[in-house]
Amino acid sequence: MASTTEAPPRKNRVPRRPGDRIFAGVSTGSGVLILVALAGVAVFLVTEAWPALTAPAEDIPGGQGLVFYIWPLLFGTLISAVLALVIAVPLAVAIALFITYYAPRSIAKALGYIIDLLAAVPSIIFGLWGMNVLAPVTVDPASWASEYLGWIPFFAGPPSSTGRTMLVAIIVLAVMVLPIITAVVREAFMQTPQLHEEAALAIGATRWEMIRMAALPFGRSSIIGASMLGLGRALGETMAVAMVLSASAGGITFNLISSDNPPTIAANIALQFPEATGVGIHTLIASGLVLFAITLAVNMIARAVINRRKDFDGAN
């Protein structure tokens, strides 16, 4: 690399055009606005949660203190969101690959539309579907699973007779986050540089090997980003989970097919808020504060993961 001669420092006298100035103003303004809104939410949550944080343990619903109240909910939130992603991400990547690399044009288009349509379905519909259609369907497989796969903690049983279990909530969540993950990942695959695809094919890669060498590494940070988007949505999803799990309440368990799973934080707030009074309200908001913190942390971790191997990233 040739060294360039150092230019003497010089005053920038280029006049700022009005368009530039307006754009700079608008974009800075929006950035500040987002920060202000975020700070506002945080302040609201902390002040409203404060009475619960300082209240004596026996005043908290359940009578054992805030931590004992929130911890099962947090567990339910995390396990449902994470397992939903475990189902949704591989499926989304597979669908995106199929659409981009394998499907004939007409099928690819139709499939794309269907996925996008899925994103437009309101969550109450997913809730109804999970409660009334999916739940009954899972009853028989769940009892089979508890009998033969009972050694796996997820299927320990006893199976719920209504089927309104954590398993159904997870499947519903997976279906709900599928469209956004698929859309983002597909967008990334479509931008895989032809240069890299050809590089792989020219050394004798099959199509699948080409995907592994060029498309997946190129799309890697998009896959992570999309997963985090999905995770954020799954963590916060309220109505669908509330409807499926409205009848269940319980402690921490990996058992997904019985009826004593804890609900998620968001669903619990939706279910309990109408009847809550006094410290109960503040307790619910405190659980919301925890959810807020978790979501923020998830996003920050996602950033860190995406940035970690920037050197090796696709965009150069």
Binding site: H196, A199, A202, A205, M213, F218, F312, D313, G314, N316
Partner: protein
């Protein structure tokens, strides 16, 4: 290694558009064959049909035959993947895999097809390929750094190392130096002269001095006319093409009196 390619009456279509018509030539093993001609006359198109890379374009197809040492590359049961394992390609813009280290770039082809190689064998092959590409000395201390951190000329040599690591018979190069500075170009030209000891090399170039310097045989492509398909005007020993070509069009092109 190094095989002869026999092309006969090759027509190349992009869907209904006939891009190149009636090419017949013999590409000799252990030699450099240069393809020259004005832009858009179908040099890249022709080159890419030699390892069936043109099939990436939907509805691109050929009529005629391409035979490598008795193997018909377009035979009914021939998998293009196998063709490309034997006929490697280097592109105009260096395209190392950006997410891979220098080492992994060279090893990429070796890892294909579930080939199980011992680590030490892999190390040897990577080293040998990088040495053959005259890149070893420059990168041996940073094999596990990303390939995208190299200079343009080094990246192009990395791509050559990657291509020869799978030990192909033939190496196709589509204007491999057109994005490089003169010093890097010189390095690649030197490399070609070394590589032809073991490989059959076909290079498309815009640079006639380059064709004259590196090639044994030169083919001149030209358009038959505006909106007409490209054709191979003539192919002959490089010294003959650049001194006493048999076609007037070739002479005009070589001497810069074109059109």
């Amino acid at each position: 290694m190094a095989k002869r390619i026999e092309v006969k009456d090759l027509d190349i279509y992009y869907d209904k558009f006939l891009a190149v018509q009636g090419v017949s030539m013999t590409i000799q093993p252990r030699s450099v064959t240069a393809l020259i001609g004005p832009s858009g006359c179908g040099k890249s198109t022709f080159l890419r049909t030699l390892n069936r890379m043109h099939e990436l374009v939907p509805n691109a197809r050929v009529e005629g035959s391409v035979v490598m040492d008795d193997d018909d590359l377009y035979g009914a049961n021939v998998d293009p993947v196998n063709v490309r394992r034997q006929i490697g390609m280097v592109f105009q813009r260096a395209n190392p895999f950006p997410t891979m280290s220098i080492y992994d770039n060279v090893a990429a082809g070796l890892k294909l097809n579930n080939k199980r190689l011992k680590k030490s064998d892999m190390d040897d092959l990577v080293e040998r390929s990088l040495k053959s590409a005259n890149l070893w000395e420059e990168v041996k201390d940073r094999l596990h750094k990303p390939g995208s951190g190299l200079s343009g000329g080094q990246q192009q040599r990395l791509c050559i190392a990657r291509a020869i690591a799978v030990q192909p018979e033939v190496l196709l190069m589509d204007e491999p130096c057109s994005a490089l500075d003169p010093i890097s170009t010189q390095a690649i030209e030197d490399l070609m002269l070394e590589l032809k000891e073991n490989y059959t090399i076909v290079i498309v170039t815009h640079n006639m001095q380059q064709a004259a310097r590196v090639s044994d045989t030169t083919g001149f492509f030209n358009l038959q006319g505006v909106g007409k398909p490209g054709e191979l005007v003539e192919i002959d020993e490089t010294t003959r093409i650049f001194s006493t070509p048999s076609q007037k069009a070739t002479e005009d092109y070589i001497s810069g009196r074109f059109g």
